[in-house]
């Protein structure tokens, strides 16, 4: 009966350092008990609470696809002021941690069916979008969606995450990739430019389209106007929010943006919903 706040145990099977600054790491987790994995049914866009006993819990978006049924991926940025993220980064492979969830709502995959999908991501806020791209591009799913276009940017080439996957996607013929960096380097042969500008230039069609946008607040701020100009209505621009959380289930009272709890009513909101929330500041 006391399961509500008790995390399930998982082993860190593998870790991948994602960036040059070495503060973004992907954790591949497997449940100790198979039944826990079976119970952990999630959709793209949801999050879970990661527990490091002794340090505490943090809400982290699920970066693997629901179809990756053997493991879960979480990509975590370490902050020197973050107790849990620092503790997580300090753990060796084969260590045990806890997972509680999945929580929150998810991207509207049903409504996205038979539509062109535009995905716009920035920095390390690309995790649940990566879950979504993996899901959309899966053999089982690809034919259910029309054109898929991905814009993804980071400050510098070294800060792009999921690099090997980005390369794989770029090789595919069924997804349009626009990978960009704010500042190039000598060895960088790719695009240079801020995400909103690259988006403006490429001007993807909004016809029969939906846009999923996830990134730092400054990127969101400058991405919404060009999307509106391209003809995306606020209902068809979907984004995901973050706030400090303790419970993840709408009780502890801290993650609200005005009357909405990010943990329960979100983290996924339409731009229309957010514009109507006074505290959202997007």
């Amino acid at each position: 009966m006391n399961d509500l706040y008790r995390p399930r145990l998982v082993t860190i099977r593998k870790t991948v350092i994602e960036n040059e600054a070495r503060d973004i790491k992907t954790f591949e987790l497997v449940f100790l008990e198979q039944k826990d994995r079976e119970k952990f049914k999630f959709d793209c866009g949801q999050f879970a609470m990661l527990s490091v006993p002794g340090a505490g819990e943090s809400p982290i978006g699920i970066a693997s696809s629901p179809l990756d049924d053997e493991y879960l991926h979480f990509t975590v940025k370490r902050y020197s002021t973050g107790v849990v993220t620092t503790a997580l980064h300090g753990l060796e492979e084969e260590s045990q941690i806890g997972v509680r969830g999945p929580y929150g709502n998810f991207y509207p995959l049903k409504a996205m069916q038979d539509k062109n999908i535009l995905i716009v991501g920035g920095g390390f806020a690309f995790t649940t979008l990566r879950s979504t791209i993996r899901y959309l591009l899966h053999d089982k799913n690809r034919s259910r969606f029309k054109d898929i276009t991905v814009f993804y940017g980071a400050r510098s080439p070294g800060e792009l995450i999921y690099k090997s996957e980005l390369k794989e996607w770029e090789k595919r013929g069924d997804v349009n990739m626009y990978v960009t960096v704010d500042r190039g380097e000598e060895s960088w042969k790719g695009r240079v430019g801020l995400v909103p500008n690259v988006l403006k230039e490429a001007a993807p069609s909004s016809e029969n389209s939906m846009a999923l946008v996830c990134g730092p607040p400054i990127m969101l701020k400058y991405t919404m106007p060009p999307l509106l100009d391209l003809g995306f209505s606020p209902e068809r621009i979907i984004t995901s929010m973050e706030r400090r959380m303790s419970c993840g289930i709408g009780k502890c009272g801290r993650c609200n943006i005005a009357s909405k709890f990010v943990c329960k009513d979100g983290p996924v909101f339409t731009y229309k919903e957010l514009r109507d929330l006074p505290e959202a500041a997007v």
Binding site: R243, C247, G250
Partner: protein, 340 residues
């Protein structure tokens, strides 16, 4: 439902009889403060109280509790004896019904809270001496309000109490003592009189209608720049509030292992929303004060259809700088909405 008359001197033996099956919690005065304590003898009960300093919500949602330990698979829970809270005030009973909305919601039931709540009977004591800081009648309550209680007792002022059962469980408790008399016309008359007098003593009358909407309109108003100025951000208003329920989950580590602890938290503290990145969406006292008021009188109303305030006045009595939520509400009502 049944009604009885009980003499003050009978209460002890009645409760002691009930004490065989129940743990009795009652107002007890210790070091000058009245709190609800588990009592061994009814002699400990402090009858002559206005209300407890702290709310009895911590009997259901303790200020700090261990949820589980990482070392063991299951928490050892000793089956709790059913409890009676004797002389809980109607406002505090109402606050529990509001907390039920949060902790016993349709999607996630908090087992710690729900178990305590289901195992506890509420024996209310009507308020015959509402205080100057009371405003229960403005928030759909009243000094003799029966809602959410199992039984309501009212001091008739002559050494006798009028007892009304409000649930079957309450009626069972009343039937445990067969020496209780049935009320006559005289006692009913007295009850009506003390009730009327008590209601008259609740002088604060706030116009709550339209407050929720008004708050939507003034979210960005300069009103919030002004209203928080003297607030120290100490959070006492939230700790002593009977409806505040925000909490933090924290780990405590010692030689024996790690325990996950739940503790009350407060929206008045900067750390409440401070993120690991250093970003804080409620950066100053202005945003935090607004959050407290909005949560009680707007967000909670939107989500659960009720105001998260029972008018107990504890935040008014205990604020070190005399902030008064009634004045804030009045000011909000007089505030002109921003041109849209």
């Amino acid at each position: 439902m049944k009604e009885k008359i009980i003499k003050k001197e009978q209460i002890g033996s009645w409760l002691e009889g009930l004490g065989k099956d129940y743990e009795i919690w009652a107002p007890v005065k210790k070091k000058g403060l009245v709190h609800f304590h588990h009592i061994e003898s009814t002699k400990e009960i402090h009858f002559d109280f206005l209300n407890s300093k702290k709310t009895p919500k911590d009997l259901f949602f303790p200020q700090s509790e261990v949820l589980f330990s990482f070392a063991k698979e299951e928490v050892e829970t000793t089956p709790q004896k059913a409890r009676i809270i004797f002389a809980i005030r109607p406002c505090d009973a109402k606050s529990l019904a509001l907390l039920d909305q949060v902790f016993d919601s349709e999607d996630y039931q908090d087992p710690y809270y729900v178990q305590r709540r289901e195992g506890t009977l509420l024996l209310g004591m009507a308020c015959t001496h509402p205080q100057r800081s009371c405003f229960c009648t403005s928030v759909k309550g009243g000094p003799f309000e029966k809602a959410h209680l199992d039984l309501l007792m009212a001091d008739l002022g002559d050494g006798r109490y009028f007892v009304e059962a409000l649930t079957e469980r309450g009626e069972d408790l009343m039937e445990k003592d067969d020496s209780l008399q049935d009320p006559q016309k005289e006692e009913r008359g007295k009850l009506a009189k003390v009730k009327e007098e008590a209601e008259k003593k609740v002088k604060s009358k706030l116009a709550m209608e339209g407050l929720e909407k008004k708050l939507d309109e003034i979210f960005d108003s300069s009103f919030w720049d002004r209203v928080h100025q003297k607030c120290l951000g100490c959070g006492i208003c939230t700790y002593l509030c009977s409806t505040c329920h925000c909490f933090a989950l924290l780990d405590e580590k010692d030689k024996c292992g790690v325990q996950r602890v739940r503790s009350w938290d407060s929206c008045m503290f900067p750390e409440f929303t401070l993120e690991a990145s250093g970003h804080n969406p409620r950066i100053s006292n202005r945003e935090r004060m607004r959050q407290r008021v909005m949560h009680k009188f707007n967000y909670f109303v939107k989500r659960y259809g009720e105001t998260a305030c029972v008018g107990c006045g504890r935040c008014i009595q205990n604020c070190p700088v005399n902030m008064d939520i009634r004045e804030i509400i009045e000011e909000i009502e007089n505030e002109r909405p921003l041109p849209s």
